[in-house]
Each structure stands twice: as structure tokens, then as C-alpha cells.
């Protein structure tokens, strides 16, 4: 066994290098600027200072976090009942439903988002439906709502699959035990099923929140030019403006924010576990 483990070392080193190198490079870019001919790089925190002193950037950062939080909450509210329903159905039905949930992922995300432009446009079916219901000024595309719809649509499967996994792997005899000890369906859910599915909820939140916060093509396509998120700013800095250093600094700031928020979520998970049991 030991001998074989040694064989994995080169692979581990390679994988770590390939994972770490780009990140180290970004961290490096974020704290330097072009120097003179003697010293090509100079250390600076100017990019960070620039970000935090510009109210426009802070506004966009706030807006990005807010829409990611909204997306996550909506995904959780829609996803949990769906996942619960799937986990309660027969084994054959479960397979079919999981397949249905993953089916859209077979098509490129970009293409699917493009499809939403058609659906949400002023002569699309949603607008027609709303007009039919009596709404006067229907304008869906290029609004925050459109971006939110796009994000929920794209990230919901991750939430459902994570929660469903946690629910289906739960030992069924625990539910019988709760039932046996006098808990009805609601009490069983509140005291046993939900607390034991928290791990799935947390990984679901992680898998939705992280891509939602840094997504750039969904706001670009569905929010038009008007709705700028932090992902778009980074993209802009790299591609349009050519300010790689500033773009890297924003990326680093985002990475730290995400890390902190994940730590907060895990903390909350632990606390909720204790609460239910006490």
C-alpha cells in the first residue's frame, strides 16, 4: 500500500502546482505595478486602495453580493421542496427526476442563457402572459429581475442535487424511529429530516452562491449594459481596459469575501445543529 502511495506523489505535486500557480500569479499581479528598467516590478497596495475608495466599485460589489444572496435564497426555497419530493418518490421515479433536473446542463450554459433573452424580451411569451394578466408596462429584459431569473435558472440544479443527495442517503430507519417515538410527519421533518439535510443545504448554498457572485455573462446578456456586476468589472479590467493588476486585485478581494462568507455559513450550520438538538 505504502509503495503505491508513493506513486501518487508526482501527481499530487503536479496538481497542486497547476492549481496554485495561477492563483499565486493573480495574488502577485494584484500587489505590483510596472517599475523602471532596473527593477521591472514594484510592490504596491494602490490597486486595493483604489477599489475601496471608489464608491462606484463599492456599489457594484454590494449589488453583486445582494443578487447572489437573493439567488441563493430563491434557489433554496424552490430547491428544497423539489429535492424533498424527489427523495420521497420511488427509486425509478427518482432516477427519472434527477435526469430531468440535470438534462439542461447537457446544453451549454451560454446558449441556455441566450434562450432566455428570447423568452424575456418584450414580445416573448412571459411579457405576453403578463400583459394578458393586465400588467400595463411590461419590461422584463435588461432588468435586475431578468438577471435574477437567469441566475436561479442556471444554478438551481446544483442546489436540488446537493439537498437530494443528503436526503436520499439518510437512513430510513431514523424516520421510523422518530415515528415510533411519537413524532408525526411535521415533527419528524423538523427534528430529524431537516437537521440531517443541513450538510446538503450548505454545499448547495456554496455551489450556488460562489458562481452567482462572480458570474459575468448572465448579467451581461440579461442585464444588458445597464446592470453591471463585479464579474463584469473584472472582465472589463482584463479584456477592455487592460489593467491586469487592478483586475487581479478585485479578484483577490472577491476570493477573500467568498472565503469569509463560506466560513460564516459553516458556522451557522454548526450552530443550527446544536440548536435543534437542545
Amino acid at each position: 500500500m505504502k509503495r503505491f502511495r508513493a506513486l501518487a506523489i508526482p501527481y499530487v505535486i503536479w496538481a497542486m502546482l497547476m492549481l496554485l500557480l495561477p492563483m499565486l500569479l493573480i495574488a502577485f499581479y494584484s500587489v505590483m505595478k510596472a517599475g523602471n528598467s532596473v527593477l521591472p516590478f514594484r510592490l504596491t497596495f494602490a490597486h486595493y486602495i483604489k477599489f475601496f475608495t471608489d464608491p462606484d466599485f463599492l456599489l457594484i460589489l454590494g449589488r453583486s453580493l445582494l443578487i447572489a444572496i437573493k439567488t441563493t435564497i430563491i434557489c433554496l426555497l424552490i430547491g428544497y421542496p423539489i429535492a424533498f419530493f424527489i427523495s420521497r418518490s420511488s427509486e425509478k421515479m427518482q432516477k427519472t427526476l434527477v435526469l430531468l433536473i440535470t438534462l439542461p446542463m447537457w446544453i451549454n450554459m451560454l446558449v441556455r442563457t441566450y434562450a432566455w433573452i428570447g423568452l424575456l424580451s418584450n414580445d416573448g411569451i412571459f411579457a405576453a402572459l403578463l400583459k394578458f394578466l393586465g400588467f400595463k408596462h411590461v419590461n422584463l429584459l435588461y432588468t435586475e429581475t431578468a438577471v435574477l431569473i437567469g441566475m436561479v435558472y442556471n444554478f438551481l440544479p446544483f442546489m436540488i442535487l446537493q439537498i437530494n443527495t443528503a436526503l436520499t442517503k439518510m437512513d430510513k430507519s431514523l424516520l421510523e424511529a422518530a415515528n415510533d417515538l411519537g413524532a408525526n410527519k411535521v415533527q419528524t421533518f423538523r427534528r430529524v429530516i431537516f437537521p440531517l439535510s443541513i450538510s446538503g443545504v450548505v454545499s448547495g448554498i456554496t455551489l450556488v452562491f460562489l458562481p452567482a457572485v462572480s458570474s459575468f455573462f448572465i448579467p451581461k446578456l440579461l442585464g444588458g449594459g445597464q446592470y453591471f456586476l463585479i464579474g463584469n468589472v473584472i472582465e472589463n479590467q482584463f479584456i477592455t481596459v487592460g489593467e491586469w493588476n487592478f483586475g487581479s486585485a478585485i479578484s483577490m478581494i472577491m476570493a477573500i469575501i467568498m472565503m469569509l462568507s463560506m466560513m460564516a455559513v459553516r458556522r451557522a450550520e454548526r450552530r443550527s445543529g446544536e440548536e435543534v438538538s437542545s
Binding site: 415510533d180 417515538l181 411519537g182 440531517l196
Partner: protein, 526 residues
């Protein structure tokens, strides 16, 4: 003893899963303050019965009464029963205290009442000071105790235990048996315990219910069931026993192995076929003149407190046949690219009826092949002048290319050796083989049985095959042409005896037992 109150009544419970009938009409009363064990092999329906009582599955037909009321429409959470599950099913997100307190919290009992009750339970199961422990980090035995406490704290009328000890190791299981019995006596409620382990059932129960294939075989105290099993199944399931076929000559006289014995059983028809049970510890080994029957000690095993001695009272039946060993090339004909081989063989006149070509090929072990490529080819044609009469006939096997070999079939009137005392018959045939065939055999004993077509069966039931031992004194490695005897034999009648006195192997001894140690049972109807 006071009249006990019925707490649970099963009334003709039937349960079907798809088209399988798992329970075939169970009628059973369970009383207050009893330790009842449902005992049976897996698949006998004992767990199904328990789950119907717990409310986790519904009976197809029949009624379950709890305190005289039908509980069919009560969901599990409204039943005054609690279950200890096979794999404990403790809530992994709660500590010991919260697991035990679960049912009380659901009932919204006051905090101090919960506290008191949980502490009392922890004391009962001997886990004081463990209330804050993570249940997932506890040992199997500790988890088991918590599961029992979690159920008992709700003060159920009946506690159901579904093979709760099966996941524990042997030593811990023993300990928990005493523990469970103690807890049951202390709390004084009815325990219904499901197990497939007869020892568990015997040590703990007030009442044992033996089940088989969805039916109850016997209900009784451990003593009743051990001493007075109603049939062969119960006798062999509970404890060790010698079970022999016998006939009831008249009341209080049973005959087996051609000897009449006094017994205490009556009420059978004259000469009715019965099963007779004698427990190994009820037989004494005495001098052969003083025994009720005699036999030869065939094996002695030391078992710690006692010896387990096997005594053969009726010798087995034997038959010896001749194996004709031939030169290697004797049975092969080669022609062009093909080779073909076959052996002479003996055939019983009785077996002539319905013999077909396939059977003849098998008995002659006829084979054809191409030596160069080692490829087998089929035998296309068989011609024979075989008649249903004792005599010698010729049979010719040939391939489609015309390579052929001619062999002899010797039809004989086979003598079957009958052993009335042991209720056995045995038969075998002489046979012809080449040295190669013997040396290439991978499992010579099995092959010898096949080659000689050796068979043994019960005289009373020809379909019941009896295992045969094979005996020979040639060495396959260095065998050469000639005739060798091969002996086939049955084991005979063995009695198992548990005694503290040592006895030499091979010694002729007498067996002695009292009339009340013989237990006569009705034959099981099938």
C-alpha cells in the same frame, strides 16, 4: 399464579408481499409483563410480524388488538409501543441526552420532568455521566443501551426489539442478554424480542414462539420447548438432539432401530410413524451388557465441560465393486486425424427401461477428438444390439467421418444390498477405466462414485439420497493394470452423546437412557 391480562392479541394475521405469503394466519396472545421471543430462521416472518405490531407495515388480513382495541388505523406515533431497531437508529445529530429525551420533548413534557426521567434511564442502563456524549462515537453496546433507554423512557406498554443484539460481538451479546432480562424485570413491562439465535431465546424468554415459513410451530416456555418439542423442526432448532425415525408400537412403547423401548408418550395410532428425540445429555455410556442398545464409539471431541461422543449403533451399509484398470491405449481407436475412445460398462437390467443414447455415451464415457488440435468432436452415431435381457451386447460409437469404436455392454441383474435395520439400500457397479483416466481425475472420490454409479437411498423413501463414503487402497499415482476393489458405504446410525466421562474411540459400549428421556413426536406433515 395470578391470571395474567392479555395485552396483545394477533388474530389470524396474513401478510402478502407481491405474490409471496410471508405470514400465513398467525394467532398469538401476549400477556402483561412477559418476555416473549419470536424465534425462527431469517425469512420465517418474525420481523414482519413485529413491524405489523409497530405499525410500519399493514397486515393483508387479520386483526391486531392492543389492550382489547383494534389498532389497525393507529399510525406508529399514536401506538403505546416503542421499538428498539436492529441497527439502533440513533439520531446522529443529537447527543445521548437528546436521543433519550426525543419522545418526551415531542410530548412536550416539562423540562424538569424530562431531566428526571432521562437521568433515571441513564442510571437503568448504566450510562450515567454520558449524557453529553456524541452517539456516533460510542461503542455498539453503548449505542444499544441508549436505543433501549430512548424507547423505555416513553413508558410504553410493550417494548419491541428487532434482533437488537445481532450487531454485537459474542461476549457483548452475552452481557446484553443478562442486561435486557434485568431491565425487563425491573421495569416490569412486556418485551417482544425477535431473534434467530436459539441460545438468546432460551436464556431470556418467559415464552418462546417458534416460527417457520410464516407459521407458528410451537409456543411455550423454554423448558417446554426444549423438553417437549412438537416436531422434528422445533427439536432440531432448539438445542442439539438425536432425531431418529421410529414407530409407535402401542401406548408407551416406541420402536426404533428394531428395538422396542419404553417411553411415556401415548395417544398415537398403533404402528404410527413417528420422530423420536433423545437429547445428547440424556444418554449415558455404560458397559455393553447393561445398555439398552449397543454401539461402537466412532469419534470423541473435547468441548470444555463435556465430551461430545458419537456412537454408531447401527453399522452403515457397504458394497464393494471391482475396478478394471486397463492399459492407456486400450480404449482408444485412431483413424486418420481423429481419435475416439469409450469403455465397456455394466448396466442394470432395471435401468434398461428408458435408456437413451445420451445415457449410453455418458456411461461408456465415449469421447472423440482430433489429437493434433485437441479439439473435441461430437459422436454422430451409436448402434447397438442392446436387448432388455441379461447378457453381453456390443455398442459402436462413430463420428460423422466414420471413425468408430466398439465396446461391450454387460447387462446384469444388479443386486441391491438392503439394510432393513438402518432403513437403507445401496447399489454400485463394476467398471472399466484406463490408467490415464484415473490419474487425470481431479476429484477421485466423486469420480469413483460416478463411474460405479454408486447410490444409496432410504428404503422408506426412495427419493431421499444418502451420502456415500468411498474407500479404496490403491495409489492413483502408481496404479497399473489389474482389478482393484472399491468399497462404498453409508454412515449408519449415529447417536450424539454429551458426557463428562472420557471414552476410547473404537470401543464397543452400551447406551442407556430413561423412558422419560425418549420424546416421541408426530411426523411433520408436508
Amino acid at each position: 399464579m395470578d391470571e395474567k391480562r392479555k395485552i396483545i392479541e394477533f388474530k389470524h394475521i396474513v401478510k402478502n408481499f407481491d405474490d409471496m405469503q410471508v405470514l400465513k394466519g398467525i394467532d398469538l396472545d401476549i400477556y402483561e409483563n412477559e418476555f416473549v421471543t419470536l424465534l425462527g430462521p431469517s425469512g420465517c416472518g418474525k420481523t414482519t410480524l413485529l413491524r405489523i405490531l409497530g405499525g410500519f407495515i399493514e397486515a393483508t388480513d387479520g386483526q391486531v388488538l392492543l389492550n382489547g382495541e383494534d389498532i389497525k388505523d393507529l399510525p406508529p406515533y399514536k401506538r403505546e409501543l416503542n421499538t428498539v431497531f436492529q441497527k439502533y437508529a440513533l439520531f446522529p445529530h443529537m447527543n445521548v441526552y437528546d436521543n433519550i429525551a426525543f419522545g418526551l420533548k415531542i410530548k412536550k413534557e416539562a423540562k424538569d420532568v424530562i431531566d428526571q426521567k432521562v437521568m433515571k434511564m441513564l442510571k437503568l442502563i448504566g450510562l450515567e455521566g454520558y449524557e453529553k456524549k456524541d452517539v456516533t462515537l460510542m461503542s455498539g453496546g453503548q449505542q444499544q443501551r441508549v436505543a433501549i433507554a430512548r424507547a423505555l423512557v416513553n413508558e410504553p406498554a410493550v417494548l419491541l426489539l428487532d434482533e437488537p443484539l445481532s450487531a454485537l460481538d459474542a461476549r457483548l451479546r452475552k452481557e446484553m442478554q443478562y442486561e435486557l432480562k434485568r431491565i425487563q424485570q425491573e421495569v416490569g413491562i412486556t418485551f417482544i424480542f425477535v431473534t434467530h439465535d436459539q441460545e438468546e431465546a432460551l436464556t431470556m424468554s418467559d415464552k418462546i414462539v417458534i416460527m417457520k415459513e410464516g407459521e407458528i410451530q410451537q409456543v411455550g416456555t423454554p423448558q417446554d420447548i426444549y423438553n417437549e418439542p412438537v416436531n422434528r423442526y422445533v427439536a432440531s432448532f432448539i438445542g442439539e438432539s438425536n432425531i431418529v425415525d421410529g414407530r409407535m408400537v402401542k401406548d408407551e412403547v416406541v420402536r426404533f432401530d428394531d428395538i422396542d423401548f419404553e417411553c411415556v408418550d401415548k395417544g398415537f395410532k398403533p404402528m404410527e410413524k413417528v420422530d423420536v428425540v433423545i437429547r445428547p445429555e440424556d444418554i449415558d455410556i455404560v458397559d455393553k451388557e447393561k445398555g439398552k442398545m449397543t454401539g461402537i464409539v466412532s469419534s470423541v471431541l473435547f468441548k470444555g465441560v463435556h465430551y461430545e461422543i458419537m456412537v454408531e449403533t447401527v453399522p452403515g451399509t457397504t458394497v464393494t465393486v471391482n475396478m478394471h484398470v486397463q492399459k492407456n491405449s486400450a480404449n482408444v481407436v485412431s483413424e486418420g486425424e481423429e481419435s475416439i475412445s469409450a469403455n465397456d460398462f455394466y448396466l442394470d437390467l432395471e435401468d434398461m427401461e428408458g435408456i437413451d443414447e445420451k445415457e449410453i455415451i455418458a456411461r461408456a464415457d465415449a469421447q472423440a477428438w482430433i489429437p493434433e488440435t485437441d479439439e473435441n468432436i461430437s459422436i454422430a452415431n451409436i448402434s447397438t444390439d442392446l436387448k432388455q435381457e441379461v447378457g453381453e451386447y456390443e455398442v459402436t460409437f462413430s463420428t460423422s467421418n466414420g471413425t468408430s469404436i466398439t465396446r461391450k455392454i454387460r447387462v446384469i441383474d444388479q443386486r441391491v444390498i438392503e439394510n432393513k435395520k438402518a432403513n437403507e439400500a445401496i447399489s454400485a457397479f463394476n467398471f472399466f477405466k484406463t490408467i490415464d483416466e484415473i490419474q487425470e481425475s481431479m476429484a477421485l472420490d466423486t469420480d469413483l462414485r460416478v463411474w460405479a454409479n454408486a447410490q444409496a437411498w432410504k428404503l422408506t423413501d426412495e427419493d431421499e439420497d444418502i451420502e456415500l463414503n468411498v474407500d479404496y487402497d490403491f495409489d492413483a499415482e502408481s496404479i497399473h493394470e489389474g482389478i482393484y476393489p472399491v468399497t462404498f458405504s453409508t454412515t449408519g446410525r449415529m447417536f450424539k452423546i454429551h458426557t463428562t466421562k472420557y471414552c476410547e474411540e473404537g470401543k464397543e459400549v452400551g447406551l442407556s437412557f430413561q423412558a422419560e428421556n425418549i420424546h416421541v413426536m408426530e411426523k411433520m406433515g408436508f
